[in-house]
Every structure is written in C-alpha cells, then in structure tokens.
C-alpha cells in the first residue's frame, strides 16, 4: 500500500555532488596551487583573525539586539489579540522577510546616513550600520517566531494561573518562561546564523578591514586580492562555525517555522495587560517602517524617468526574474521529490532516514553560499572560464538556498495531506496523474505557491554569489544597485531599489496568490 521510497535518491546524489564537489575543490587547493605546495601559515594573519572575531561579535550583538526586544513586543501582541492594528502590524513585520538585503541597506542609509532623517554621519559605516540593518531584518522575524510560543501555552494553564491568583511575575515564571525557554534558543540560533552569514549588509555597511566578516573577506580575497588560499582558509573557518551552530540547533531539535503569511490566533484565556506595552510595538513598527518609507520618498524624488528608460536596468531586471523563477521551479521540484520520499519513509516506520533526507535538504545552512561559490571558483577556474557559467552557478546555488524554505512550508502540508488522504485515494483507485489533478494539486497548491514565492523572492533579491561571479554582461538588479551605491549615484540607486522591491513584492504576491490560489480552495 505504501509506495517504495526511491524517487529521492538520484536527487540526493545530485545534491551531494552540488555541495561535495566545491568542498573537494576547496580542500584540494590546500595541497597544490599552481604546482606549489600551499602555505597554510596564512591562517595566522591578523586579517583573518579580525574577520573571525568580528563575525562572531557582530552576529552575537545583532542577535541580542534583535531578539531581546522582540520578547516584550511578541508578548504585547499575544496579550492584545483584539488590538485593531494587530494584523497590519504583523503584516508589516513580515515585509523584511521579502525585502532584499541591499534594498534594506539603502533604506538604512536613507534614514541614518549623512542626509537622512536621523543622521549618524560616518559612524553609520561599520558596526553601527551593520547592527541597525541586522535588527531591521531580525527583530520582526524574532517577533513572528516568538509569538506562537505564547499561543502554545494551553488555555487551561492561563485559567489555572488566574484561579491560583498568580501575579504578573508568577505568570511569567510558571506559564510564559517555560514556553519561551523551549523556543528562545532556536530563535536566537537562527538569528545568529543569519547574521553570521549575512553578506550584502556587511559588504555595503562594513567599514574596512576592522568591520569585515568571514563572508565578506572571502569575497574580497577572491574578487579583489586574488588570494585563493586565503579565501579557502576563510571559507573553511566559516564552514566550521556554521557547522557548530547547525549541530547545536539540531541538538535542540526545535527549529522555528518561517512563513511570512503566518496567521497568529488569539487565545481568549490570556489576560489583558497594560496598553503601555503597545508603546514598544509602536516603536518597533516605526523602526521597521522608517527605512522603507524614506526609501520610497527618495525614489519618488529620484531620476525615475532616466532609470526606467535605461536598457541596463531592464536587462538586469530580466536576468533577476529569470534567476528567481528558475530557482523557484527547481527548488520546489527538488524539495517535492525529497519530501515525497521522506514521507514514504516515515510512513514505513523509518523516521530516522526520513529526517536525514530533510536535513540533507537544509545543507545550505551549514555550507554558506559564498563557501560553495568559492569552492566552485577553485574547482572550475583551471578548466573553464567561470564567468561564462554565471547563470547556471547562481541558479544552482539559489536553488540550494531555497530548499530549506520548501522543506519547511511544503513539508508539513504534504505530510498532513498524505496522512488524511492516501488511504481514501487508494480505496477509490485514485493514483498517478488523476490523483495529482483531482486531489493533490487542489489541496497542496497553496503550500506550493508559498514555497515558490519564498524561493523566487529570495533569489530575485540575492546579492551573494552574483557579486562573486557577476560581469558587466551578467549584472542582476541587486548587483546593479550595489554598483550604483558604490559609485555614489544615490538617486538612481533609490529608484532601482524601489523597482527591485516592487518586483519582489509583485512576484511574491503573484506566486503565492496566483499559483497558490485562495487558501480555502
């Protein structure tokens, strides 16, 4: 009755090749560079040491600044389910998930730059700017990840707390803290990992060697200094750090769900607290909205006509769309194949193997895109001109980056769907294409749409691997925006950023609603 679980193995082999070959390239370089034995003493250089410690420092500080304020804000949302602005604000807190990093950077510069509303002057560049941008992305994310923890507190517990006469502190200690303690480490590790592997933010707002992370140092070593061995050492350090964080996260076995359309339900049994808490929500909302509003105003005042008339802009937009859609299609297909196999295995009782397959799909958490890019660069450059292979490489790596999102959004839906309908379909002799058309697609299309939308948006706005391999002929919109910023063409950059943001939001909406249909369909 339960199908045999084979379909994912070729896909898994392909995944292993895609990740393994670049890593082999990296390690291989250690033994030989142009016929000479590599000098590994390079890892002791002050530059690498600084990059290593600064990576940890900025990621740790960003995590604390993003997650700690998120706790009272999430609590305020949980305690005020009927607050009229709750839904719009939660939607606003979902926006940073689909805003490309480089666009957010421009928004941050627009608010806190020399000509901004809250000018920080030169001190914006360096740790301050990195922290501001990381908090912009991760504070709303942390709020949305923490909020369901309050929902998970059983209603009878709130009632017991009331009946036993708990005061505010006792309520926090006995009801809320146990729930938070379960989820908080996972949220903090996720945010730490995101900040550790953050590239575009540090590249644009980092201020010289003192504010360089491993990720940016890899890029600089390959792109500017032509120091492949140094890039390899940096990549291996980054790999080790990510592996460590991933192992700790897996040991906790509580990875938070990431979904921009996350619905948050009110729990009627929750007590109401002072509306003063909502002040914290208002401040956070202003913090998130300010860069976007400022950027929009800059764009309106910028050379809109000139930018929209530029062939380079539209060519870049087209490339970006092609990358986004291709990565979305590939990641969704690969993810679906892996998930089908893992759910087959789970139903046959092989829970461990099922989990291994899903973990393998999240390999990109451990091997950051720039590490993969470096490996590919090292592996391919002796044989081919890697700059002629930009699009396949960028699409491939973006597919890998998107896979964890597919696993997290499509996975639960597929498992639930199969548990409910497999036996019924079997009894009705619904199989193959007939089953797909009549049952699977109508019931799973929302999850497919959401997965594709997330991956497409992520790939469309990605400024990572493309910065490593991009050429004037293969410039994407995020790379063009980075070049405009580098050339101080701030007005043009604001318009380009607005265009990129509109494309991201439109593509997300089209795929989520167009492909996914109405949720109740």
């Amino acid at each position: 009755m339960i199908p045999r679980a084979r379909s994912a193995y070729p896909v898994l082999a392909l995944l292993a090749l895609a990740v393994g070959a670049p890593l082999v390239g990296l390690f291989g370089l250690g033994t030989d560079i142009g016929g000479r034995s590599a000098d590994w003493a390079v890892w002791q250089s002050a530059y690498i040491r600084n990059a290593f410690w600064f990576s940890l420092y900025q990621a740790g500080l960003s995590t604390l600044l993003a997650v700690l304020p998120a706790i009272p804000i999430a609590r305020a949302f949980a305690y005020h389910p009927d607050f009229p602005l709750r839904d719009p604000l939660l939607r606003l807190f979902g926006v940073p998930l689909v805003v490309p990093s480089i666009v957010a950077v421009l928004g941050v510069v627009s608010v806190y730059g020399s000509d901004g509303w809250l000018p920080l002057g030169r001190s914006l560049y360096g740790l301050n700017g990195i922290l501001i941008a990381h908090v912009f992305f991760n504070l709303p994310l942390a709020v949305r990840l923490l909020l369901p923890l309050w929902e998970a507190i059983p209603s009878p517990h709130w009632q017991l707390g009331e009946q036993l006469g708990f005061d505010g502190w006792q309520r926090f200690r006995h009801l809320e803290w146990p729930a938070l303690r379960e989820g908080l480490p996972g949220v903090m590790l996720l945010v730490f990992m995101l900040c550790l592997t953050s590239f575009a933010v540090v590249l644009t707002l980092g201020g010289g060697p003192r504010s360089t992370t491993l990720e940016v140092a890899i890029y600089q070593s390959l792109r500017f200094d032509f120091a492949p061995l140094r890039a390899v050492v940096l990549a291996l350090l980054q790999l080790g750090l990510c592996l460590l964080v991933a192992v700790i996260t897996l040991r906790l076995q509580r990875l938070p769900e990431v979904e921009p359309g996350l619905a948050v339900h009110a729990t009627s049994a929750m007590p109401r607290s002072s509306r003063l808490w909502l002040l914290a929500v208002a401040l956070a909302a202003i913090y998130v909205a300010l860069p976007l509003v400022s950027l929009a105003l800059d764009a309106v005042r910028g050379p809109v006509a000139a930018v929209l008339a530029s062939a380079a802009v539209w060519r870049s937009a087209l490339y970006s769309l092609a990358i986004g859609l291709s990565a979305a299609a590939l990641a969704t297909l690969v993810g679906y194949a892996l998930l089908r196999t893992s759910s087959d295995l789970a139903r046959r009782g092989s829970e461990g193997r099922a989990r291994t397959i899903e973990t393998a799909a999240s390999i990109i958490y451990v091997v950051p895109p720039l590490v993969l890019g470096t490996g590919l660069f090292v592996l391919l450059s002796p044989h081919v001109d890697v700059f002629n292979w930009v699009f396949p490489i960028v699409i491939g790596i973006n597919t890998l980056m998107g896979l964890p999102f597919v696993i997290r959004t499509l996975g639960p839906a597929l498992r639930q769907h199969r548990a409910r309908h497999d036996l019924l379909c079997a009894s009705l002799d619904l199989a193959g294409w007939r089953r797909w058309r009549r049952v699977d697609w109508p019931l799973l299309r929302h999850a497919f749409g959401l997965s594709a939308a997330l991956v497409a948006t992520l790939a469309l706005g990605d400024l990572g691997v493309i910065a490593l391999f991009g050429t004037p002929q293969t410039t994407t919109l995020p790379l063009l925006l980075y070049q405009q910023l580098g050339a101080y063409r701030v007005g043009e950059a604001a318009v380009t950023a607005a265009l990129l943001l509109i494309l991201c939001l439109a593509l997300f909406w089209l795929l989520e609603r167009g492909l996914g249909g109405r949720r109740d369909a």
């Binding site: 059983p154 209603s155 009878p156 517990h157 009632q159 017991l160 009331e162 009946q163 036993l164 006469g165 708990f166 005061d167 006792q170 006995h174 009801l175 146990p178 303690r181 049994a269």
Partner: protein, 233 residues
C-alpha cells in the same frame, strides 16, 4: 452549598440561562449534548466568564464579580492541569501559595494530600514521568490543599480507561463527602453519573432541562431529546 439563580450568559447569538442547587457533600452530574452549555456553566462558576445577569452563591454568600482566585471554587480540567516543567510536589504546593513560600504546616498539608490521593513517593516526578491517572490524582491533591467549598470537574477523567476512571470517581466522591464540598461533574459517560451522583442534571441548548435522581433520568423513555442524547444506553 452552591446556588445558581437565573444565571444568564450570551455566547454570540445564543443565550443561556441556568438555575441549580448543589448540597454540601453532593456530586451532581451534568450531562447533555456538546454545546448544551455544560462547560460554560462551569466556567461561569469559576469566574472565567462573566454572566450577563443572575447570581451565584456559595454557602449563602454571593461570589458575583469576584476574580477566579478569590472564589471558593476549584476546577479540574480534562488535561493540562499541571505545569509540565514543575514536579508534582511544586504543582500541588502552588495551590496553597503561588510564591511557593510554604511553612511547615503547609508542607505537611501537601504531604498529607499526596498520601490521601495515593501518590506517596511520586512527589518529585514531573508530570511527563507519571501516568494520566496519576496526573489527575495530583490535580486532586491540589484540590485538597486549596480547601475550596466547590469542586468543578470538567470531563476530568474522560481520557482515562474505565477502571482508572472508576477509581478516581470513587476517590472524588470520598473527598467531597469528607470535606463537605459541593461538586459538579461534567461527563459524557452515564455510568460515571450512576457511580457517584444521586442526582443528575440534563442540559439542552443552554438550559437545565431537568434535574432528577440519576437512575430515573437515565431510564426516562419519554423525553425524545434526552433519548436522542443517550441513545440505546
């Protein structure tokens, strides 16, 4: 002991009205279809819901408007009665003092409650480390240390097997008699009512349709709604 007088509650478009008396030492069973208002009535008595009108009196005193913690009422739910991160002892001790600053007499009361419900030796176990029946026994131990006059059981033993359910119901009946409490038991099992309740109330569409001796009510062949609810039992 417990008097409920013209207690009204509106839930959306539905309105409910309850009239009921429960004597000291009595376990009155509430039966009726889902949505009839059984749990709503319990939550009104516990103070989790605000009535639109009417009065609840315990031992002659009105408890209207009192917050849940100040009511002479204690409730046991079907599940989630215990905090999973605290051991059984702490869960029970919370019933005396939420700040857990217990003096010697109070600690002795906790120990006695454990002995009374048959949980001796399991005080330091966490709820996840004991059976469902033992978890409900711990909830009953907390009922004992709270020393309230009214006990509400909201399908408290529905998730247990028949033998365990019977044991716990007998334990409840004993405790209610010993402490002269008034207890309301919501259950979908007529057998539960027969076991511990001399009287039984049948609720239908937000009203207490009948209160009668349990055997008489369960054997009634004339009321079509009651027959439809009870089926062929």
């Amino acid at each position: 002991m417990l008097e409920i007088d013209a207690l009204e509650f509106a839930y959306g478009e539905e309105s409910m009205c309850f009239e009921l008396d429960v004597a000291a030492g009595e376990v009155l069973s509430l039966i009726g279809p889902s949505g009839a208002g059984k749990s709503t009535l319990l939550h009104l008595i516990a103070g989790f819901l605000e009535p639109r009108a009417g009065t609840i009196r315990v031992a002659g005193d009105s408890i209207d408007g009192l917050p849940p913690a100040r009511r002479p009422v204690t409730i046991v739910f079907q599940q989630h009665n215990l905090f999973p991160h605290l051991d059984l002892h702490t869960n029970v001790a919370l019933g005396i003092d939420p700040s857990l600053a217990l003096d010697a007499t109070q600690s002795a009361a906790v120990a006695a409650a454990f002995a009374r419900v048959g949980l001796d030796g399991l005080e330091r176990r966490k709820p996840g480390e004991v059976s469902g029946g033992q978890r409900q026994r711990a909830a009953l131990a907390r009922v004992l240390v709270r020393e309230r006059k009214v006990l509400l059981l909201d399908e408290a033993f529905a998730a247990l097997g028949p033998a365990q359910r019977e044991e716990l119901l007998e334990l409840v009946a004993g405790l209610v008699r010993e402490r002269a409490m008034a207890a309301l038991l919501v259950s979908h099992q007529p057998r539960d009512a027969l076991l511990v309740s001399a009287r039984c109330a049948y609720l239908d569409r937000g009203r207490i349709a009948r209160v009668a001796p349990t055997r008489e009510l369960l054997d009634d062949r004339d009321d079509p709604a009651l027959r439809a609810y009870l089926g062929s039992q």
